[in-house]
Amino acid sequence: MSLKVVDNSGSSHAPAHKRNPGYPLDLDWVERVRMNRSALERRAGSIGARRTVKKDYQLAWLLKAITLIDLTTLNADDTPGRVERLCAKARNPLRAEIVDKLGVGDLRILPGAVCVYHTFVKTAVDALEGTGIPVAAVSTAFPHGLAPVDTKIAEIEASVRDGAQEIDIVIERGMVLRGDWQALYDQVRAFRKACGDAHIKTILGTGELATQTNIAKASLVCMLAGADFIKTSTGKEKVNANLVTSLTMIRMIRWFNEETGIEIGYKPAGGIATAGDALKYMALMKEELGTHYLNPHLFRFGASGLLTDIERQLEHGLTGHYAADYRQPMV
């Protein structure tokens, strides 16, 4: 087949990443934001039909997808035992048989992080020792964010002390709905300071921000305040990550990069359950931000069930048989 393949970047190796130093709040910039929902929906809705990967390409992409997963458990009934089981899965996300058959033992296929409540940070850090897999803690009164700011800062500091290398904070949605950008900026700035060397992901709670324009403006304010990642949802809202909201947020990431030269990471979370979904997100990232964005330091899935479905698809790709989930070690 004669086909021109255009790629924006040749290599997926992580370049030296410059961390977002944060910038002054620019309200004029915030006011210049325009998002047209219908057009965003059209673009997001057609990405799966415009780009598809088959056969070996699909297998390779799915392996990459595993490295982008923040393996997550955020349930009120979590226990140390449950978290340890999750970490065990993180250590061995794929059955050895699959890895061998694919011949990718050298690739070190591991998830991007393990994501838990503060209470289990220590458990996870211990369970992952020696793997290099970072532990992410959801924080600042997750999922609602409505606690005294001092309490929230103390929570961040406690998680960092316990060994969390990534902190997923939640913003107060009311600040966005009221257009109180200064308050949002100040709070995220304070959170960022509390994180220290730990990377900060700002969860917008997009399902509760009402409009794409609000989502875009909140994304910008968080980035100006020093966010390393912007993240869609807690997984607890009625509407979680989707491709439309993702397009809104990654276009703000692109604009921020055009103006500052800084690359901010993106993490859709909640509702991404199938290998097919993951491929669509990856295609959207590649098209809008470039191939180098398909890297754990710039892109993560907040998901738990996704890994099992990817395993099944890989097995199907290898054997031609459809796989059952109970045959994959559970997450």
């Binding site: 086909l3 924006n8 997926s12 190796h13 047209n36 219908s38 780009r51 070996d56 794409q212």
Partner: protein, 788 residues
């Protein structure tokens, strides 16, 4: 490193081919040779030409080149089938259309793959756009068939329709033609484009399999000469053509005077306007759909980018960056954005145009990379450093080439957008609803997309203004293009006007009259440019007055005045109604004087004609604010506002009889709908209308809205027909004059109505409603997607 590990690093897309097995199997089952589909059967192959896959150059099948004998037998079959088909109930016809829709849906992938192989368009487009729209079109028209009698009372189908379609959307254009024609009860002979006949032939097999009565659909393949035979066939009642403006004009000239119905959907050079307050990234993405959809081979392609100066640099940079991500290649690959152009000749044409444009100073940007060496592939191109005078800005390129210019103000954007012969579509991007809805009506185009582009739906009419053609496809407007009033068939020849001496034998004979009616141009009484007058005689031959002998220059001045008064079209309908009521009132006030003038000229008691004229003005005053548009609900979160707009300047050449009503019955609907008018009153009896300008003056009619030029009807009609500033021309006169008017109107493809020597009883109430209102207007569909 194994392959998977390599891909893990590069994350390329890799090939994702759609299989061609089933399409090949179908072609093989036909031995890759096709005759025509006539009278429900396949003819033996005749002289053939090859249909090739433009992506590979490989021959797909041999197609028969239709002869005029083939066209004869297809038309005969359609004629024979017409009584049966038009005699079926709408419900029965609707069921057939429904079956066709179902079959197309059922075999959608086969149609899509075959279309892509034959045409070169990406499988994503044939699969996700063309074929679903085809099925939707048949479903929609199954519904129209069912409701025809209620929705179009007293209308009948034309009869046999000759339909000629282009190669850019082969099956979709077939659907746009065949679905409404069949719904209305017509039978058809369709000629697909020579490059892309295969899906039409597969469609013929579908017709066979759903048991469509034989002869209702006939497919004759062939090239230009086959099409010409169809156009010129004496037993064809209507021609519908989609294709180039050049060929459209030839068809207009060929059908002039034949009485054949005609709809033309022609070329375009559609503007794509981006205001500074737009969602720029979405506007860039829209541009991809506007100009790189179907390799830019789209009549309504947004090929002229107009971007506000304040964002020009940033926007152009975004466009260039986006272009680098377009994937050009094998159209059967599911991840390809730009496939192959339809044929080598098109590639050459585009390359030649590009060379010409560059020689004139254009700067061309193409993204890095290569396209496949074999096959009809072109890189996407962005052309800058051009002005409206550059060839690439003026000409329809019909390829993946975007030209970009900037504007400073909304007013300038509109001026640049309308600075073209064409008027098919326009796109505008702005997040400000006030701006968007201010600009949309000002764009001279049949379709306007706000914050989106290239949206189509069976319920929303599609078609052009100006040289992009006339007639609409889709929706109510599209249905009405395949129907005509029942009474038209019964029209009888008009009585030949008693000839009066056009000019006094001795010019000085006129001198004993001390008053000469002047012409009326731009709200002022005007002396004829010629410096000559014409005598007006009564029935007994006695001289009853004089009028100016109008010539080309008077017409020129009148059209100029009428164009300057086009603001009448945006005057509130209520205000137009008030002025028409006032006209009626003032005419009624002087009814005795007007009746006497009629009697002097015609010998008839004029009081009835005056009363009818007053009533007619009153009727159209009432219509002014009622004959309006609709809001469609296409299957997306959007409304499509079908706005009824005036044509612009309408030339009206009044019939010889009824010196007052003959003119009033024609200008009243034109004025009610917001057109300005250049009127040539009855040649023999012009005095009623020269009297009428005093009524105009006392009725607050703005200057230039009505202009009156007296003189020889046919020669003034010719000047009007040839004038590119006249948008529509109505001619009530002889068959020869009508043919002349239609032929001479080719220049700017103005919309014409002619009486073709037949007697239209303008006093009849059937002319007091939508008959002329429809002809005085065109529908613009404005797509307005929404969502916070």
């Amino acid at each position: 490193m194994n392959k998977i590990a390599q891909i893990f690093e590069t994350l390329e897309y890799g090939p994702a081919p759609e299989t061609a097995d089933q399409a090949n199997a179908w072609l093989d089952s036909k031995n890759r040779t096709f005759g025509h589909f006539i009278d429900g059967a396949w003819t033996a192959r005749g002289k053939t030409f090859a249909s090739t896959n433009p992506a590979t150059g490989e021959k797909l099948a041999d197609i028969t080149d239709g002869t005029s004998a083939d066209v004869d037998s297809a038309v005969a079959a359609a004629r024979a089938a017409f009584p049966l088909w038009s005699g079926l109930s709408g419900y029965e016809r609707g069921k057939f259309l429904y079956s066709i829709a179902r079959m197309i849906q059922k075999h959608s992938r086969l149609f899509a793959v075959l279309e892509t192989m034959d045409n070169g368009k990406p499988i994503r487009e044939s699969r996700d756009a063309d074929i679903p729209l085809v099925a939707r079109h048949f479903y929609h028209h199954a519904g129209w068939a069912t409701h025809l009698e209620r929705e179009f009372p007293d209308h009948v189908p034309y009869g046999v329709c000759g339909q000629i379609i282009p190669w850019n959307f082969p099956l979709l254009m077939l659907a746009w033609k065949i679905a409404p024609a069949l719904a209305a009860g017509n039978t058809v002979v369709l000629k697909p484009a020579e490059f892309t006949s295969l899906t039409a032939l597969l469609f013929a097999e579908i017709c066979e399999r759903v048991g469509l009565p034989k002869g209702v659909v006939n497919i004759v393949t062939g090239e230009g000469e086959t099409g010409a035979a169809l156009v010129n066939h004496s037993d064809v009642d209507k021609i519908a053509f989609t294709g180039s403006t050049e060929v459209g004009k030839i068809i207009r000239a060929a059908t002039a005077g034949t009485g054949k119905g005609l709809s033309l959907e022609l070329g375009g050079k559609s503007p794509y306007i981006v205001f500074e307050d737009a969602d720029l990234d979405s506007a860039v993405e829209g541009l991809v759909e506007a100009i790189w959809f179907n390799q830019g081979q789209v009549c309504c392609a947004g090929s002229r980018l107009l971007v506000q100066e304040s964002i020009e640099e940033r926007f152009i940079a975004k466009v260039k960056k986006r272009m680098a991500n377009l994937r050009v290649g094998d159209p059967l690959d599911k991840s390809v954005d730009i496939g192959a152009l339809v044929a080598p000749v098109q590639v050459e044409r585009i390359r030649d145009l590009m060379k010409k444009g560059v020689a004139e100073g254009a700067v061309v940007y193409e993204p890095d990379g290569t396209v496949p060496a074999n096959g009809c592939f072109l890189k996407p191109a962005l052309v800058t450093n051009v002005s409206p005078a550059n060839t690439l800005v003026e000409e329809e390129i019909f390829g993946p080439v975007l030209v970009a210019m900037s504007f400073r103000t909304p007013e300038e954007a509109v001026a640049l957008a309308n600075n073209t012969r064409y008027g098919l579509a326009a796109t505008l991007w702005s997040e400000n609803i006030n701006l968007a809805l201010d600009i949309a009506p000002k764009l001279k185009a049949g379709v306007v997309w706000i914050n989106g582009t290239n949206q189509f739906d069976a319920a929303v009419g599609f078609g052009g203004y100006k040289e992009s053609g006339f007639g609409r496809e889709g929706g109510r407007e599209g249905m009405s293009a395949y129907l005509k009033p029942k009474w038209e068939k019964a029209l009888q020849p008009a009585p030949v006007a008693t000839s009066v001496p056009a000019k006094a034998a001795n010019p000085l004979d006129a001198e004993h009259l001390d008053q000469t009616a002047k012409m009326y141009i731009g709200g002022k009484q005007a002396r004829p440019d010629s410096g000559y007058n014409r005598p007006v005689h009564g029935t007994d031959g006695a001289l009853v007055g004089e009028v100016g002998d109008g010539n080309r220059k008077d017409i020129r001045n009148a059209v100029e005045a009428a164009r300057a008064a086009l603001g009448w079209g945006t005057t509130a309908a209520h205000s137009r109604a008030q002025i028409l009521y006032f006209l009626a009132e003032n005419l009624d006030y002087r009814r005795d004087e007007f009746a006497a003038r009629i009697k002097v000229q015609t010998g008839d008691d004029g009081s009835k004609e005056v009363a009818q004229s007053v009533e007619r003005l009153f009727a159209f005053a009432g219509w002014a604010d009622k004959y309006d548009g609709a809001v469609h609900n296409p299957p997306m979160r959007a409304v499509a506002a079908a706005m009824v707009e005036p044509l612009g300047v309408i030339g009206v050449v009044a019939p010889p009889s009824r010196p007052l009503l003959g003119s009033i019955a024609l200008i009243a609907p034109a004025l009610a709908m917001g057109n300005t008018v250049v009127l040539v009153p009855s040649e023999g009896s012009p005095l009623s209308m020269t009297d009428f300008y005093q009524v105009l003056e006392t009725s607050d009619m703005p200057s230039g809205v009505v202009n009156i030029v007296t003189g020889e009807s046919v020669s003034l009609a010719k000047t009007l027909a040839e004038h590119d500033g006249v948008d529509g021309l109505w001619f009530a006169g002889s068959a020869e004059g009508s043919a002349m008017v239609e032929k001479a109107s080719v220049g700017n493809l103005k919309q014409t109505w002619t009486s073709r020597g037949l007697y239209y009883d303008l006093a009849d109430q059937r002319f007091a409603g939508d008959y002329f209102l429809g002809k005085a207007t065109q529908v613009k569909n404005v797509w307005i997607p929404y969502g916070a």
